[in-house]
Assembly symmetry: C2
Homo-oligomer: 244 residues x 2
DNA sequence: TTCTATTTGTTCGTATGTATG
DNA sequence: ACATACATACGAACAAATAGA
C-alpha cells in the first residue's frame, strides 16, 4: 500500500540517475520546479524535498531567479574515500575485504574511559581488524574497535562478512546509529599498525577516529583506523548554510 | 519590516543559543514542534525548517513518536578544526593571523591545469601565505593559493587582514562561492613548507586541498594548505540520510 | 533603462502516516 | 487502545533575484 520509500526520495533517486546518465551535466540547469512537479506528478513541496536531498549530497545548488544548477556528477568512488554521510562509510566498507585479527574483553580503566568518552569500570570488547584493497591486495586499514560488552555477540557475525561492525549491531540488537563524530589526524604507526600496513614503525599514517552515537545521544561504538599515508585521500564537500 | 534574516533562521539561532546556554543538554528532548510554534509565533513549517538547520549542524536528531533529541552542544573551537560548512572555514581563518609571503603571476601549463582542474594557457596568480596560531605563536599552516588573473587585485586586500582570499574576492568582485570541494591527505613537507612550519623536509604533514566553486559550477580558487602533523585535528559529523 | 515573466526561497494552512510511550 | 510526536504530502500565496524583451 504505502510505499516503503517516500515520494521525495524516489524523485531524488530519479534525478540522481539523470545526472549520472549525463542528461544534466555540471553547469546545466535542472528542469524548473513546476516542470518537475508535472513530470513526476507530485506537489512542489515534494519536488523541493527531493532537490534538498540532492543539495545535501553536493550535487546541485539552487539560485533564485535562475534555476537549479548541477554542480557535480554523482560520486565515483575509486581508492578515494568520499565521505558526506554514513552511507558513504558503508560504501567504502562494502568494497574492502575485512579480516578479524583478534578480540578480547577488558574492563575500561580511567584513561581509556576518558579517551572513549564513556564511564570507567564497565566491560567492553576490543576488536582488531584489517581491511584490504581487494582480496589479494595490500592492507589499506588497520583498525581497533571498542563496543560495550553487551554487543559482543555481534562480533561473531562479522567474521565471515565485510560489513562494518555497527551494521551487525544494528541488525542483531535493533538499535540505530544516527550520527558519527569523526576526527582525522596524522599519527605515527604503532608496532602493530606498522606490521599490519607493511610500513615502518613510526611511519606517518592517516588516523580516523569515529564515535558512533544513537538517536538518544548514547555512545555505542568507538573505532580508530589508521591508513597508509600513501594513497589515502579523504574527500568531502562543504556548502554555504545560509538559505537552505 | 522585511527581516534580512528569514524567520526560520532566527528561530534556529534562538535554539542554538538555548543549547549553548545549557537550557537543553545533550540527551534532552527539545520542546515539541507545536510547542515551539506557540513560543515563536510561527507556523510549524517554519519551526521544522529551523530544526532542519540544527540537524544539519549535527546538533539534534528528530525521532518520531518521541521528540527531537539534543546530540551535542554547540561547537567549541579550540586548536581543532571543526568543519561542517563554509562558515566553519571562516571561523578558523578569523582566529589565525595570516601573512602573505610571496606572490607571482604565471601561465598555467598542462600539468598545473590538470591538477587545478581548469583550462591551460591562461594566466593565474599564485600566492604563498602562512598562518600562525596567534600573533607570536608557531606557524600552523603553509598555503599556496591559485586564482585567475582577473582576481589579482583582491590579493592586495588581504595583505593587511587575516580574512581568507575568497572572502576578499567575494567582496570586491561580487561573486559568491557556493561550494568547497575538499580533499585531506598525508603528504611530505617540501623544502619551503618545512621552512615555514619549522619541521624537517619530508616530515609528514596534513595536506588540505580546496577547490572553490560558484553557483554556476565555475572554478574560482584552488588552495593547498599543509599543517604540521602534531596537533592538527579535523573534526566532522556524519548523519544518516533519511530515505534513500 | 524599465518592465515583465520566470524561477527559486519563504511562509502560511491543512491533512494523513507512522513510531513511541 | 490511546495520545503524542515527528515525517510526509497536498495546496496556496508572496518575496526576492534573475533574465530577457
Amino acid at each position: 500500500m504505502t510505499p516503503s520509500v517516500p515520494k521525495y526520495s524516489a524523485v531524488a533517486d530519479a534525478l540522481v540517475d539523470r545526472i549520472r546518465a549525463g542528461i544534466y551535466k555540471p553547469g546545466d540547469l535542472l528542469d524548473s520546479e513546476p516542470e518537475l512537479t508535472r513530470q513526476f506528478g507530485v506537489s512542489r513541496h515534494t519536488v523541493r524535498a527531493a532537490l534538498r536531498a540532492l543539495y545535501e549530497k553536493g550535487l546541485v545548488i539552487g539560485q533564485r531567479g535562475r534555476g537549479t544548477v548541477v554542480q557535480a556528477t554523482a560520486v565515483n568512488p575509486r581508492y578515494r574515500h568520499a565521505c558526506n554521510s554514513i552511507e558513504d562509510v558503508l560504501q567504502y566498507a562494502a568494497t574492502t575485504p575485512r579480516q578479524v585479527v583478534a578480540r578480547r574483553r577488558l574492563v575500561v580503566d580511567e584513561a581509556l574511559a576518558d579517551w572513549l568518552g564513556c564511564a570507567p569500570g564497565y566491560s567492553w570488547w576490543e576488536v582488531h581488524t584489517t581491511r584490504r584493497q581487494d582480496t589479494a591486495g595490500p592492507v589499506v586499514a588497520s583498525s581497533q574497535i571498542w563496543v560495550p560488552d553487551a554487543f559482543g555477540d555481534a562480533i561473531n557475525d562479522i567474521e565471515a562478512t565485510d560489513e562494518p561492525l555497527f551494521v551487525a549491531i544494528e541488525r542483531r540488537f535493533g538499535c540505530t546509529f544516527a550520527q558519527i563524530r569523526q576526527t582525522l589526524s596524522v599519527a605515527s604507526a604503532s608496532a602493530r599498525e606498522a606490521t599490519d600496513l607493511g610500513v615502518d614503525e613510526g611511519a606517518p599514517v592517516m588516523c580516523v577516529e569515529r564515535r558512533f552515537v544513537d538517536e538518544r545521544g548514547g555512545l555505542l561504538e568507538v573505532s580508530r583506523s589508521v591508513h597508509p599515508a600513501q594513497g589515502f585521500r579523504y574527500e568531502t564537500s562543504l556548502r554555504r548554510v545560509i538559505g537552505t
